[in-house]
């Protein structure tokens, strides 16, 4: 082929342009650490990477929800444990009640049981970290006025006698359990119900006929009246309550275990997704630097050969 004067510079310019473009791509990959910067770099990998990142965002969201469920479940577990201790103490008092005790001893025991009753009501009206009642189902907010009582809403509202003693405890909450998704296709209960007349779902303080408040009021009143047999008779009911609380504690404990496993599983998924995402979108420094060096060498060689060829001309040999 006949070679013209513009063939070399045109070819050199085109080759240098191509090499510079490739060097710029490699340099961009090295400086950003990414081999994918635009969807058109690799449409399939880019899509997969975006899906993985979305999956990570969703996993983060699941972790956030799992943490909240964990906090609620832990709070329920703590309250149930306290209630268990409280009921055990009440059972112990009921067991000690006998006719050999003096009336002042019985009165002192009644005072203690009354305190246990007050404490159990307070436990029933425990609030979560967001300031909402833990055992009221999904009924009113803590800041609401209860339409039925025209007073500030509490899940367990009490009726007191002239001596300011609790004579009745009424559950104002509902029996709705909020279920939250903690993983794809997996939901867990957020809240423990305080009271359930039917036993489904299980109530912590009142479950079907196992009513901690009724038992404590009866025990207190029996002790106040010096009626040791009646006080002793509450033992059966208290045992039922204790069993119910133990069941709740068992279930809550199992839920906490499951939540721990879920958290680990979500974190593993997050790490796994990150690994794949890294393979898809991160630049391999070793190979990229190597490729950059090769292209730099080519670029240098093209410049040198171009400079040599372009310098040669017959004009240089014409007599002046």
């Amino acid at each position: 082929m006949r070679v013209t004067s513009n063939l070399f510079p045109n070819s050199l310019a085109s080759q240098l342009q191509t090499l510079q473009s490739q060097i710029a791509d490699d340099q961009n990959a090295i400086s950003t650490g990414k081999k994918l910067t635009l969807p058109s770099d690799n449409p399939t990998d880019y899509r997969r990477a975006l899906e993985l990142r979305n999956s990570q965002l969703q996993t983060h969201s699941f972790l956030q929800v799992t943490q909240i469920v964990q906090e609620h479940t832990q709070a329920s577990y703590t309250a149930a444990s306290q209630l268990q201790t409280l009921v055990s103490r009440a059972s112990e008092i009921a067991t000690r009640a006998s006719s050999v005790l003096s009336s002042s001893d019985m009165a002192a025991m009644a005072v203690e049981v009354n305190n246990l009753l007050e404490q159990s009501v307070a436990d029933g009206n425990t609030k979560d970290s967001n300031g909402q009642f833990l055992f009221g189902g999904n009924y009113l907010q803590a800041s609401d006025t209860d339409p039925a009582t025209a007073a500030a809403y509490v899940p367990f509202s009490v009726t007191r006698n002239a001596s300011n003693q609790i004579t009745a405890v009424t559950y104002r909450g509902n029996t709705n359990v909020t279920q939250l998704a903690v993983q794809d296709g997996s939901k867990m209960d957020l809240n423990q119900i305080g009271s359930s007349a039917t036993g489904t779902p299980r109530g912590l303080f009142v479950n079907n006929t196992d009513n901690v408040f009724t038992q404590l009021i009866t025990l207190r009143d029996s002790l106040t009246a010096g009626n040791a047999p009646a006080a002793l008779a509450t033992l059966t009911g208290l045992n039922g309550v204790e069993n119910n609380v133990a069941t709740v504690i068992g279930a809550t404990s199992a839920n906490l275990d499951r939540l721990n496993i879920t958290t680990q599983s979500l974190q593993t998924k997050l790490q796994s997704d990150e690994g794949v995402l890294s393979q898809l979108s991160d630049a391999d420094y070793a190979s990229t630097v190597l490729a950059l060096n090769q292209k730099q060498n080519s670029f240098q060689a093209a410049l040198q050969s171009g400079a040599k060829i372009l310098n040669l001309s017959l004009m240089n040999y014409l007599p002046v």
């Binding site: 990414k34 969807p39 880019y46 975006l50 969201s61 999904n138």
Partner: protein
């Protein structure tokens, strides 16, 4: 008969001097135009001048320049514009696609920290991340439906999605309008080039007189350059007539007649047409106009089975097909995403109950969580990417977000959970049985594949054009080394002719000195 004689010899030397000088001038012209685009090198056609019958036989009278020949390969001259046209199409398409891609704002950023339970990224994650963050905000709200900060998060994320769609939708239309202006400009320039070709046809015909006159080399160079400039814009067909004029048609030999002889445009005395653009983005058509009202649509893909060529074809394809309108292209894609998202969210949201009206909590959620009307409560119209917005009443009052699926249950977050679960819902209208994100990603992947293919086709077209241009340059291009050697050749011949003249002069002096 005697020989040409001493005067004849002087005349011969004089002719030789002239011929070598003219050859040097032509060499100079070649050297001067070494970098002129589309310049075809010229060569002095040296021939022996007339011979004279003498007593000793046929005797030459020297040399003369019969003409100036332009080194052109007409086959390559016809092939190069076609390759230019093809390359121009892919270059323009690739460039516009790159603009489009950056306008879609879909980067790939990594999450800040895997240890953190907060789903944040350091940079912008594009629409796909906005959508996921929006649904995640509802998931978070389901765990604490009374939280004002979580409700505010839902509002912020919803506004981010709407704003992103608005930006992309507006960007598409803006790009479409800009491309439309380029098309109009290109067509206007093309009509000017066509008029220039017709004018050059006239000058060339006047000089060459049907092949009997001298070649109008420089004018032909200019005409070829105009043809190649025109080829960047359109796929054109050219044919040189016997009167040395060039006929130009759009597409192929049966395409619309753009230049015929000395006529172009809607000249009354010829059947040539003027190019016009009909309509504006998003539907623009190239038409021919012969004056009056009549306009005919022109098909830029005039050669069946051949790929589109020319930048205008790429631009019109981008306007009408790739970007499109509400019924086609990317505008339709993003409108479907906006309408699909609004339909899904609104459908669920209106079945729930807000955190308003304590302690009854019996206010149903608005049917227009996403709407296209700044006036709250109006009927939902057609939601598009450009007009989607968060209901202004909801935006102003976070309590109006419905998170509960039953009245009187403010702590019930079931509806928020259901709204969050819409991230995996595949029943959105016109989303092809995919989730909103999946539909978006499938369309993005399709576009990215198109861009990748265009880049590859551009490389191929570039290679073809480079090879054809090199082949043509090997014929018509100037080689300085060759011209330098020619220069030396003609210079030496000139020196020798001058020496000859000097010898003859000496001979004449000798004769004149005879007493």
């Amino acid at each position: 008969m005697s020989s040409i004689g001493i005067n004849g010899a002087l005349y011969l030397a004089s002719n030789a001097l002239n011929a070598q000088r003219q050859a040097i001038e032509i060499t100079g012209q070649n050297i001067a135009n070494v970098n002129t685009p589309n310049y075809a090198r010229q060569r002095a056609n040296l021939v022996t001048s007339n011979t004279i019958q003498t007593s000793i036989g046929q005797e030459g009278t020297g040399v003369l320049v019969q003409g100036i020949e332009q080194m052109r390969n007409f086959l390559l001259d016809a092939q190069v514009p076609a390759s230019v046209s093809s390359l121009s199409y892919y270059q323009e398409r690739s460039s516009l696609m790159a603009q489009l891609q950056s306008g879609l704002e879909q980067p790939l950023d990594r999450l800040d920290s895997l240890a953190s339970n907060t789903a944040t990224t350091s940079g912008d994650g594009g629409l796909v991340q906005d959508l996921q963050n929006f649904f995640n905000a509802f998931q978070s709200l389901s765990s604490d439906p009374t939280s004002t900060s979580l409700r505010q998060q839902v509002i912020l994320k919803a506004q981010a999605v709407a704003s992103r769609l608005n930006t992309i939708g507006d960007g598409l239309i803006s790009l479409q309008t800009q491309i439309g202006q380029t098309v109009s400009q290109s067509v206007s320039e093309a009509n000017t080039s066509l008029a220039s070709i017709a004018s050059l046809n006239k000058q060339i015909a006047q000089i060459e007189v049907g092949g009997t006159g001298p070649r109008a080399n420089d004018l032909r160079d200019q005409r070829q350059q105009l043809v190649e400039d025109l080829s960047k814009k359109f796929n054109i067909y050219t044919h040189e007539a016997s009167d040395d004029t060039m006929t130009v048609r759009l597409g192929d030999s049966g395409g619309a007649l753009l230049v015929s002889g000395v006529f172009s445009g809607n000249t009354a005395s010829a059947s040539t047409v003027k190019l016009t653009v009909d309509g504006s983005a998003p539907t623009m058509t190239l038409k021919s106009w012969t004056g009056g009202e009549a306009e005919t649509s022109l098909n830029l893909d005039a050669i069946p089975g051949q790929p589109s060529t020319g930048s205008v074809a790429a631009e019109l394809n981008m306007i009408n097909t790739v970007i499109g309108d509400g019924t086609t292209g990317l505008v339709q894609t993003y409108d479907r995403i906006a309408a699909g998202l609004a339909g899904l969210v609104n459908g669920v949201h209106q079945t729930g109950f807000t955190l308003q009206n304590s302690p009854t909590y019996n206010t149903a959620g608005t049917a227009t969580f996403f709407d296209n009307d700044s006036t709250a409560g109006n009927a939902l119209g057609v939601v598009t990417a450009r007009n989607i917005q968060l209901n202004s009443a909801v935006a102003a009052d976070p309590l109006k977000i419905a998170a509960s699926d039953a009245a009187g249950q403010p702590l019930n977050g079931n509806l928020a959970a259901a709204l969050g679960n819409l991230t995996s819902n595949t029943t959105g209208t016109n989303l092809g049985g995919m989730t909103v994100s999946q539909y978006y990603l499938s369309q993005l992947t399709s576009l990215a594949g198109d861009i990748q293919a265009t880049t590859s086709q551009q490389s191929t077209a570039q290679l073809v054009n480079q090879q054809l241009t090199q082949q043509r340059d090997s014929v018509q291009g100037v080689s300085l080394d060759e011209e330098t050697s020619n220069l030396m050749l003609y210079q030496h011949a000139y020196q020798a002719s001058a020496r000859l003249m000097s010898v003859i002069d000496s001979m004449m002096q000798t004769i004149l000195q005879i007493q």
